[in-house]
Every structure is written in structure tokens, then in C-alpha cells.
Subunit: 342 residues, 2 copies
């Protein structure tokens, strides 16, 4: 990595003024990593080719604390998170915008690591950053860095993946292990040293979704990524939207032993913890085996499991069949703020 | 305005957790004002109709301090600002996303005023908010509210408005008076009581641009909104992009007496202050009169004036012919941070 000029060791207010210092920051940090030719035009907005198909549009701000954590940093989280929001409607992500709010005094080295992670995640996913904006606020008026990414995608005409398509009998598939991202952030923030290898699962899921769409068109009715509020809250939303019951089998939910142990230690229910590289798929019962096998054939979905079924038992509710044979009502997250998890 | 439940007077961390409290905030504050049916689906992303034509995509974060100011607040600024970024490439704005970062403790009344302003500005402009996201950070980790808006627009195939289309002989037109927004924010922040009626010029310019495109197709070569860094910095960027000289006539630049007086008082050069409802148009010399007349026939452009000409005199530079007949080199903004102006 080339050394930056000495003058640019920390972010100054001037870097957000729109003048010379802003241009220097853009040129020497951002454009070194972000190489999309549309972005390099540095116009007020990006102009892209015309697209065939419906447009998908999503936005997410990322305020995670800490900004660096095992398995990633706020940069790749911001790229993968918005790609996944697009993918959850079956969209092929086309491009992203990048809006940065920087706190005066942020180390430029840290910013550079984050921009490199953004560029890397964008390249891995094949989704370029095509337009951006940077603001700087005085010390103490933000916390290091907040990132907004918005994304445009294209939804093919035969693709209809929405919450209200879920139906009775659908199988509920989780694409991988539960709560990895949430428990990693929370143990890190609490300064806990826990045994085992906790790390964020941040990962883009659009190629997995595209594979399902192309090989098993129509099989997937609903997709959601259980981020804030976790699996419990995400499934509650689907239960409410459909007025059906999401009946989960506790023993079927994949969770790493280290994650389960850390949740136990901190008194947290993994059903409420955020996941960043996982999705919940509600799929036609007669296609569930095929969807599961296809998911498991991929890197993103190798730990996928059928974790439950859509029933009419408790309309609008999520219910957990526990390991000891009971049934427990699972409420959406309420009154337990877990801030800055993403 | 209906009263909100007593429990919701200030923003709590829980409002950003993605659970019940988030849903309550979305339902009782956001969706009361923002009424687009696509937004009301509350899916992870919006799905829009297919569009004919190239897509324009822009993002901007707004961190203005104070959040309420004469002439507007951070809400309409965020809507109009991103609409204008799209319009500066000749795009018809289609829709916006809304990303909010709220500080714990923000008064819900203030948030509601801002959301109402966002909804109002969106309606006035005919550009709906179709997708959104809200995060809450602990007290002291942000300053009240930061807003990101990203926008999608459509650029017609015969429309080509870019910095590098400006040519020698082009006239430089400013669509209205200079520095209104910047001086309003700065005097307000300094607690200065100044004589005269200072207020922000925040305003969407896309209908003005659409009118120019439809009536005088091809006449406008380059459009920029002189926001951060002001007219001086914006024109410097065009001068550098074209390697031509932007020769300005000081006496021709429209500025309100109250703005000029406040700039004098604060020792600020209005050429460097932000404008939020103005654009700079570089237009073919033989069409300049028609563009000017058309602009002046609109509410947005009634104070428009030809303020200079593109020449080859000082390549890559902005030069001001002063009132007393001299020539002054105008550098882009440097070393004078004017933070949180937008």
C-alpha cells in the first residue's frame, strides 16, 4: 500500500467542504480502490445504461459499533447488506451508491481499510459503486463513520418473491447457522473473551438467490434476511403479513456451538440476534428438498436446513416447538434494544 | 395534527432495533406522511415498473446544523438536494430512498416536522419516497438527525448534459440569486441577528430543467448546482474538466442586498457559499437569450442572469472581472471549512 502524504493522517472538517481537500480525499483514497468508470466521472449523479425489467431499489445505513470486528468491517457489511436487501425480492443487483458521514479526527488509515473492504466486497459480488457523497461532521457529532448504501437491481418478469406469497404447507428454510453476526458484535463490544471462533457471517446472497431462481423458478415464495430483530422478528412480520403460523422446530435450527455458548453466557436468545449473510426462504412443500439440496451445494448455503413449516395453527404468530416437546410463542423483538448491530 | 401516544415523545434506542418500537415509529410517524403505496408494502426493497431510457442514480447525505432554519429544514433540503443532483444530468427524477440516522433523545415532534417536510417536498416535486431505513444511535453519537436520500431518474436518449460538453463561447447563466442558503445557515449558527430577510433557497429544479430540455433541446451543455464550495468551486471543476476559462462578470451576478450585507459583516465571499435551489447552466451562445428568457418565465428561474462566458483566456481557471475593471483569479475552496452547511 502506497503511503499517503503526511498531511492526510486524520479526517479534517475541510475534507467535507467540497473544495480542494475533498478532491484530494476522493482522488487519493476513494478512487484508488473504487474503480468503476461511471464513478470516476465524478458528476453529480451516475448515468447508467437502460435496463429491461422492473427496477428494485433499496437503502440501508450502517452504524455498527465497533467498526472493525472478526469476519469483516462496516465497509463490507454496507455492501453485502444492501445487495442482500435487493436479493430478497429476487432482484439482480446492478450497482450501489455510497454515502459516507465521517467524524472529524477519524484516522485516514481506518477509512482506507474500510474503503478497501467496500471495493473488495463490491468486486466479489460483481456490483460496482457508481456514485457517492462524503460529509464530515465535527468531533463528537458522529461516531467515527456511518455509511449509507443504496442499490438498484433488476427483477425479471417471471420472478415474484414477496411476503404475501407464503402459503400453508410451505417449508421454512434457513440458509445457514443462526446469530453469528449479532453475537460477534455483542461479545466484542462487551469486551468478552469467549472460547471458540466467533465471527460475522457478512456475505452477499444474490448469487445463491439467482441460482434458485434459474434452477427452481417459482419454488421460492418469500425471502427475508433476518438482520435487525433476528429470525424471530423477521418471521413475525411474515406471519402478520400472511395471517399464518410460522411453526419452528428448535432442534432443526442450525447454530454453531460457540455461538450457542456465547448466547447462554450473555443471556441472549439467538432467535433475536442479527444475521448478515443468511436468508430465510419460504418454499413450496413439494420443492423443499430440491431447494435445500441446491442451497447446500453452494458455499453460502452449505449449512442450510429446513427449520419449520407454515401452518394455520396460530394465525399471525411464530411458535417454537422446543427440544423437550413443548410449544413456545415467539414474539417480535420488543423493549430490548440491541443498538448499532449493523 | 393528531396527538401521538404519550409514550412516544422522544426517540429511544429501541426505535432502531427493528422490533415492535420500530414498527410503531414507522406506522405512527413515517407512514402517516409518506403515502407511496410501494413504500407502504414495507418490504426489504421497493420494486418499481420497468423504465425506458438510461437510468440516473445519485446519493447525498444531509448533516446541516441547525436542522431547522428560515426557509426550510433538513427534510426538504434532503429531498430537493437529491432531486437537483439528478436534474443536473438532465434526468427526470423517478423516486427517492430515505435513510435516517437518529440520535437517541431526539424529540419525536421534531422528527415529525421533518418527515412532514420530506413528504411535502416529495409531493410538490412529484417524486415519491419508495423505500427507507432508520437507525438510532446512543445519545452523543450523532447530532439529532442525519438524512441520506438516494434517487433514481431517467435520462432521455437525446439528452446529453455533462461537464465536458461546455465549449468556448458558451454563456454562463446562474438561475437565481447567489449564496442565500449558505449565509442563512451561517448567520443562524453564529446567532447573528441581521437586518433583512435571509432565508434558504432550497427548491427542486427538475421542472425547470425539463422545460429547458423540451423547449430548447441541446441548448444546455452543462448543468451544476453550486452547493458545497459554492459557485467558485463548481465552476473551477468545470474549468478543469474542459481546460477552458470561466470568465465571470462580478456586476452581473445577482445577489440580494441582505445577503451581500451579511457576507460583508461575516467576512465571507458569497462565491464560496452554498446554494440549494440554484443551478449554473453553460449554454450555446446563440441560444443564451432564449434560455434566459425561458428561465425567467419560471418561478425557479425568475432572477436568472447571464453572469459570464467560457473563454480560452486562462485555461482551467475561473476569473472574475471585478466591478472596478480588474481581473481576479478565483480559486476553488481550500482551507476554509464551512462544515454542515447541507
Amino acid at each position: 500500500m502506497e503511503r499517503l502524504p503526511n498531511v492526510m493522517k486524520t479526517i479534517l472538517l475541510d475534507h467535507g467542504s467540497g473544495g480542494r481537500a475533498s478532491q484530494q480525499l476522493i482522488g487519493e483514497v476513494f478512487l484508488r480502490y473504487l474503480d468503476d468508470p461511471v464513478l470516476h466521472r465524478l458528476e453529480d449523479c451516475a448515468v447508467l445504461e437502460a435496463q429491461t425489467g422492473r427496477l428494485a431499489f433499496s437503502t440501508d445505513s450502517y452504524v455498527v459499533d465497533p467498526i472493525f470486528f472478526p469476519g469483516g468491517n462496516i465497509g463490507e457489511l454496507a455492501v453485502n447488506g444492501t445487495i442482500n436487501d435487493l436479493a430478497m425480492r429476487g432482484a439482480r443487483p446492478l450497482c450501489l451508491s455510497l454515502g459516507l458521514i465521517l467524524e472529524e479526527g477519524l484516522a485516514v488509515d481506518d477509512l482506507e481499510r474500510i474503503i478497501a473492504a467496500i471495493a473488495g466486497a463490491g468486486k466479489t459480488a460483481g456490483v460496482p459503486i457508481v456514485t457517492g457523497d462524503t460529509k464530515v461532521v465535527p468531533r463528537g457529532k458522529a461516531d467515527k463513520i456511518f455509511i449509507n448504501t443504496s442499490g438498484i437491481g433488476v427483477v425479471d418478469s417471471d420472478c415474484e418473491i414477496t411476503a404475501d406469497r407464503a402459503g400453508k404447507g410451505d417449508r421454512i428454510i434457513l440458509s445457514g447457522t443462526l446469530a453469528d453476526h449479532g453475537i460477534t458484535i455483542l461479545t466484542r463490544r462487551a469486551g468478552l473473551k469467549v472460547a471458540g471462533d466467533l465471527k460475522s457471517d457478512t456475505m452477499a446472497l444474490h448469487t445463491l438467490v439467482a441460482l434458485l431462481n434459474s434452477k427452481l423458478s417459482g419454488a421460492v415464495h418469500t425471502l427475508r434476511d433476518p438482520t435487525r430483530g433476528g429470525l424471530a422478528t423477521t418471521l413475525s412480520e411474515i406471519a402478520e403479513a400472511t395471517n399464518l403460523c410460522m411453526m419452528l422446530d428448535e432442534t432443526a435450527i442450525p447454530i454453531r456451538p460457540a455461538v450457542a455458548a456465547a448466547c447462554e453466557l450473555m443471556g441472549l436468545d439467538p432467535l433475536y440476534l442479527a444475521n448478515e449473510g443468511k436468508c430465510t426462504a419460504l418454499v413450496a412443500a413439494d420443492k423443499a428438498d430440491k431447494v435445500l439440496a441446491l442451497m447446500r451445494s453452494t458455499r453460502e448455503g452449505r449449512d442450510a436446513a429446513v427449520i419449520g413449516e407454515v401452518t394455520a395453527d396460530y394465525p399471525g404468530r411464530v411458535v417454537l416447538k422446543t427440544a423437550i416437546g413443548g410449544e413456545r410463542l415467539v414474539e417480535p423483538l420488543s423493549g430490548e434494544p440491541l443498538p448499532r448491530i449493523c
